[in-house]
């Protein structure tokens, strides 16, 4: 099975974070914002070309680039 990441989700789709495969220091930053294993997230919006993503996690809205969105494995 192929791994699914945030960048594969649709707008308003929900998922659970399985693993953050980003390198440091981005990884720690994502952790600190609440994107950790087991966290529930929801895609709120993305820009037209899916360049930038707006996701909701733990009552916090977070803007990410596609590169970072690809580094969060979800289920």
């Amino acid at each position: 099975m192929q791994t699914k990441t945030i960048s594969d989700l649709q707008i308003s789709q929900e998922a659970t974070v399985q693993k953050v495969i980003a390198k440091e220091p981005v990884k720690s930053r994502l952790f600190a914002m609440g994107i950790v294993k087991g966290a529930k997230i929801k895609v709120l919006e993305h820009t037209l070309a899916k360049q930038t993503w707006d996701i909701l996690s733990n009552n916090t809205k977070i803007a990410l680039r596609q590169e970072e969105a690809r580094q969060v494995v979800v289920q």
Binding site: V26, K27, S28, R29, A32, E45, T47, L48, T60, L64
Partner: protein, 700 residues
Amino acid sequence: MNKQIKVAIVGQPNVGKSSLINAMSNAKLHVGNFTGVTVEKKEVFVKSDLFDIKMTDLPGIYALNAYTPEETVAKNFLLNEQYDIILNVVDANVLSRNLMLTLQLLDMHKKMILVVNMIDEIEAKKGSIDAKKLSILLGIPVILTSAKTSQGIDEINKTIIQTYRAKQNDNKIYYTQKVEERIKELTKVLQKSPHFKDKDYARFIAIRLIDKDENVYKIIHDLPIFIEAHNVLEKIYSSLTAELDEDSTVDILSNERVAIAHNLHIETVNIKEESKNLNEKIDNLLIHPILGLPIFLFFMWALFQLTFVLGNYPMNIIGDIFTYTATTLADILPNGTVNSALTQGIIPAISAVVMFLPNILILFFGLNLLEQTGYMSRAAYLMDGFLKRFGLQGKAFVPLVSGFGCTVPAYMAARTLKNPKDRIITMLVLGFMSCGARLPVYILLIGAFFPTHDAGNVLFAIYISGAILGLIFAKILRVVLFKGEPEPFVMEMPPYRLPSYKALYMDLWYKTKMFLKKAGTFIALAALGIWFLSTYPHNSALEKSYEIKIQHTKNIQIKKQLQNELSAKSLEESYMGHIGKFIEPVFKPLGFDWRMSVSVIAGLAAKEVVVSTMATLYSVGNASNTSKGLIQKVRENVSFNSAIALLIIIMIYSPCVAAMSTFYAEIPQWAWRAFYTIYPNVVAWLFAYGVYRLLSAVGH
């Protein structure tokens, strides 16, 4: 003297640290609804009966593993400075995420107070937080506050004093057994060094090392126990990750903190699941994939329209009042030095600056709304993809937009960019974002040369083309000098908040005061200097010869003409005339006369000085027109093509000395400082020349 209690204000970004300090004191720390408002530590004193409390407001940090330069400021303070108490502020809305930092801070084993801020927003949602229980679970005092309604503010003061007097309590966070064993093992090794005799401090360092904190790693790097500690640490890294099946010990500690924070949240927070609220409805529109950007551009356009159109009415009135004062004074006061210093030097100069205060305030009002409402980070989100093409990232938007207000804080705001390359590129192109002080020059020239109904659009076009030029240069710099990818973009977007009218009003009032103060002191002095240089030395031979001529004519028309000739000739013979003649060749190709040239150079002191200098020079050189407004004088003395060239120069050339010294303070490398000092001026001249020639060629 009272005893001093030193308190460090620590917390994640945008939780209301600066707002709380403002509520506790009469400080006016900068507050805004986006992350990274505070980028430098600031001290505020609060006096009470027995103690003076010294509070240090720190930039927000997400975790102790500092990430950006401004977070490093906070971390360095926490690790290296002397303070008695950590006041940890958390946002009640996102308690469990904020508690992750709290848990890291508790590892430090210092006296600590937890302030749960924004409780008004929880209460509005009919929720509650059990402070007592949280206090028992964490082992430190917990206060529920709202910087907005002032709830709980007095209690902070009391608790600080109580905590200062009380003994340090044993507020340790315990991790799971496997992790604790490793912490103990490493602590033992560290304690062999005289540096870490204190057991709690050794434990903190051990935890930071297992958390792969590079700054702390550097601390032990030079100690004799380094080899042993390093070996133990390596062993811990490999055994822990293997046993718990994780990539890194960072993940392990993070997972543990998440679990603890989550439990604390469940035990103490009582709040119903939120339904889809107004916030998201607004976002659906404002960051809509297709509509988002056009809406943003519309807002900017509307702001510049308002800046010109609304500001125009008071502008004319203020201008008239000053002109009237000058003419009246000129008649009342005896002829002489004081008379002409006031009516030709200082008053026109101050008038030329103060006239534009309404415009500047409208611009600042718009920027303030952008900062306070939470739209700033949405705009950054929208612009990210666009900025990426120019080798920048969304977060650079914040300093870039702040640059429309004032370049000095904008340079500071670039600290929120992690990657040094991104930061330096952003700072190098920040000057292209026209600051509020350049607004007077634009409005003056636009007012003189464009019909009123176009003026707002022209103003918008100036700001936008400045910004686009800046982006193009960012791209060039990225390709030529700073190869590599821009830094990753991960940014929190806070909920929308209604700005408080009081704060808005206070901010604008403060800006007005500062502006008037600057006009009354700095600008007035500069104007006096310019007036002096342009009035002296007197050439008595010249004056005599003209006086005789004037006396001999009866025709009033000719008399006036002779008087004007005399003023113009005297001005040319003055010190300023000579200085002007000396620099004139540089600006000659742009069609500037020496007075414009002098004004441009004087603008390096402060951009408002461009208009004030023009006002002085055009009134000194013209004996009979004190009654004419500055706009009129400019229209008579400056050609359209030169006016456009002047606009371009002002748009691009070096910012004021205050901004330049901020850049020098932020960027230590001499090569960059030199580059920064030279290239905008060269670019400005070349562009101005190109456009000037183009306009002449098409027959303007």
